[in-house]
């Protein structure tokens, strides 16, 4: 632990690393099924606000808040997924960004809206300023247990009929359907699982940061979540965990270069995307890179097609 301290990884940084790897896994589920959805920040917001309202306004324990946030995230994913998942690629991405914006704006105006309907003063989401003074009750061991449970879930998923169907859909949706896979069902179920996981991360993170506001769950957050999965790689579930760890720890390790942090983070992401298209956790990608480096420096110019 002293070593981690010395490179700038304090307990709170480690906790954020764990939370962000859970977020990475939530988008991994949809990416692994071939769905380019950026809805995770929106579901994270739903989880965070639900969780905090349950612990602060209703005095419920964190475990109950966690389950409450996950259930609400999952329920909201049902009517969203059905129409939106007919879209593909960039269209799906845009539609899900739209969903995230709607969630953000609804949370922003929730109190005013509720007041105009009920006629009473409502103080739940507290508008643009958000909720402050949230106790920091998420503990490291809880995050580790949660991540281990999710990892087990991923391992079993990949060894199940359902998990194989997910991979088949990613590779060739039509051929998958011709194999007897109900593509619509699998896609919607995965979207719900992804939402539940993002909502869980939202609950846990909200009880680490002490404050939440609608601005924390905008487009920036959606892109960060995507970056965890892309940096780590989406060919196995280990990738997004590594991605979440690296992208969270790096800015802390590099805090001496504070003014260049964004540049360094961005450059690393760019380098990985260009030279290791499968992400950090991808043996085939490393061996390809290794071969290319040994062959000739110019060969690197032709990487685009490999």
């Amino acid at each position: 632990m002293d070593f981690f301290r010395s490179i700038g990884i304090t307990e709170i940084v480690f906790q954020f690393m764990l939370v962000n790897s859970i977020l990475g896994l939530s988008i991994y589920l949809t990416l692994y099924t071939g769905m380019f959805s950026l809805a995770n920040a929106g579901f994270m917001a739903i989880g965070a606000y639900t969780g905090v309202i349950l612990t602060q306004n209703f005095d419920l324990p964190l475990g109950v808040a966690l389950i409450g946030g996950m259930i609400l995230g999952g329920i909201i994913a049902i009517p969203i997924g059905f129409p939106v998942l007919r879209l593909k690629d960039i269209y799906l991405a845009i539609a899900t960004i739209g969903f995230g914006e709607v969630v953000r704006i609804l949370i922003l105006n929730f109190d005013t809206l509720a007041e105009s309907i009920t006629g009473q003063e409502v103080k739940l989401t507290r508008g643009a300023l958000g909720i402050t003074g949230i106790p920091k009750i998420t503990e490291t061991w809880q995050l580790i247990v949660f991540l281990v449970v999710v990892a087990y879930f991923m391992i079993r998923l990949h060894r199940s009929r359902f998990g194989r169907a997910m991979a088949a859909i990613r590779q060739d949706e039509q051929a998958a359907a011709n194999m007897g896979i109900n593509v619509v069902y699998v896609k919607n179920t995965v979207f719900i699982m992804s939402a539940v996981l993002a909502a869980a991360a939202g609950v846990l993170k909200a009880h680490l940061t002490r404050t939440i506001s609608p601005g924390d769950f905008g487009f920036d957050q959606a892109v960060s979540i995507l970056a965890f999965a892309v940096l780590g790689g989406t060919s196995t579930w280990i990738g997004p965990i590594i991605g979440g760890f690296v992208l969270t720890a790096l800015p802390e390790i590099l805090r001496d270069f504070k003014q260049y942090r964004g540049i360094v983070n961005g450059s690393i992401l760019l380098l990985v995307i260009v030279y290791l298209p499968g992400g950090l956790v991808n043996p085939a990608g490393w061996s390809r890179l290794w071969k290319r480096l040994r062959q000739s420096p110019e060969a690197g110019e032709n990487h685009a097609r490999t």
Binding site: R159, R161, F162, G163, R164, Q171, A177, N178, M179
Partner: protein, 256 residues
């Protein structure tokens, strides 16, 4: 077994299928030939549910399936291969065959999560069936190789094995020997005959007339989306209309 009645498919102004009537009787091997762009693949796409007719009916054992989604059609007993190989190329050969059996499985993700007896029995069953198919198509040695890395002929055979993994009654084969050498073509012909021996039915699109002769009980000729002729392979070979429209005009189709 399979019955198409007045099936028409329009793509904008193009009539890819025009009032097609076609019957595939149970346990027969029916050939479908026709020049490039005749609408053969479109026909198979419509039967397998990847595409749907603009009008007309497709019936499987009397039940209309022209509007059914593809996974239902597969589970009802129709499997297919593709003209351009469409394996799950990043997965292993074995995984391709497990996915082919998806519709046969019952176990949910929760079964897998807690290792229920149902999950274990089913996985064992799926692996056994996959092993049988690997052996039948001479692919046992390749079980754990990436499907996309197989030699071309092996990929074609894996596609057929994967189609059989769905446990079909009717198999639609879209140019199963395209790009194969004569020996491979001959072996594939034997596999098609074996389907019939096992009680299955097949609709085979083929350009190779000698293969048609070897395996088919009857043949339909499609030209510009219309059925031009129907008969035994010998009758088709002699039909002057067919010779003029297709065979006579372009002798070299086998190489296409």
């Amino acid at each position: 077994m399979l019955e198409l009645e007045k099936v028409t498919r329009l793509f904008g102004g193009l009539t890819a299928l025009n009032n097609v009537n076609l019957i595939v009787p149970a346990n027969k091997i029916v050939g479908l030939i026709g020049p490039n762009g005749a609408g053969k693949t479109t026909l198979i796409n419509n039967i397998s549910g990847l595409d749907h007719p603009t009008s007309g009916q497709i019936r499987l054992n009397g039940a209309e399936i022209q509007n059914a989604p593809p996974h239902r059609i597969t589970r009802a007993g129709i499997a297919r291969t593709y003209q351009n190989i469409r394996l799950f190329s990043d997965m292993t050969v074995l995984e391709n065959l497990l996915i082919g059996q998806h519709g046969r499985g019952q176990a949910t993700f929760l079964d897998s999560l807690v290792f229920t007896p149902r999950f274990r029995a089913e996985e064992r069953d799926l692996h056994e069936r996959a092993a049988q198919l690997l052996e039948r198509f001479n692919l046992t040695h390749a079980a754990n190789l990436r499907a996309g890395n197989l030699p071309y002929g092996d990929q074609r055979r894996l596609e057929m094995a994967r189609a059989l993994a769905t446990n079909p009654k009717l198999v639609l084969l879209d140019e199963p020997t395209a790009g194969m050498n004569p020996i491979e073509t001959q072996q594939l012909g034997e596999q098609i005959i074996r389907l019939q021996e096992d009680g299955l039915t097949a609709l085979v699109i083929e350009h190779d007339m000698s293969l048609i002769h070897q395996v088919c009980d009857e043949v339909y000729v499609l030209n510009f989306g219309q059925i031009l002729a129907h008969g035994t392979p010998d009758e088709i070979k002699r039909d002057p209309v067919v010779i003029e429209a297709y065979l006579g005009k372009d002798e070299d189709h086998g190489a296409a």
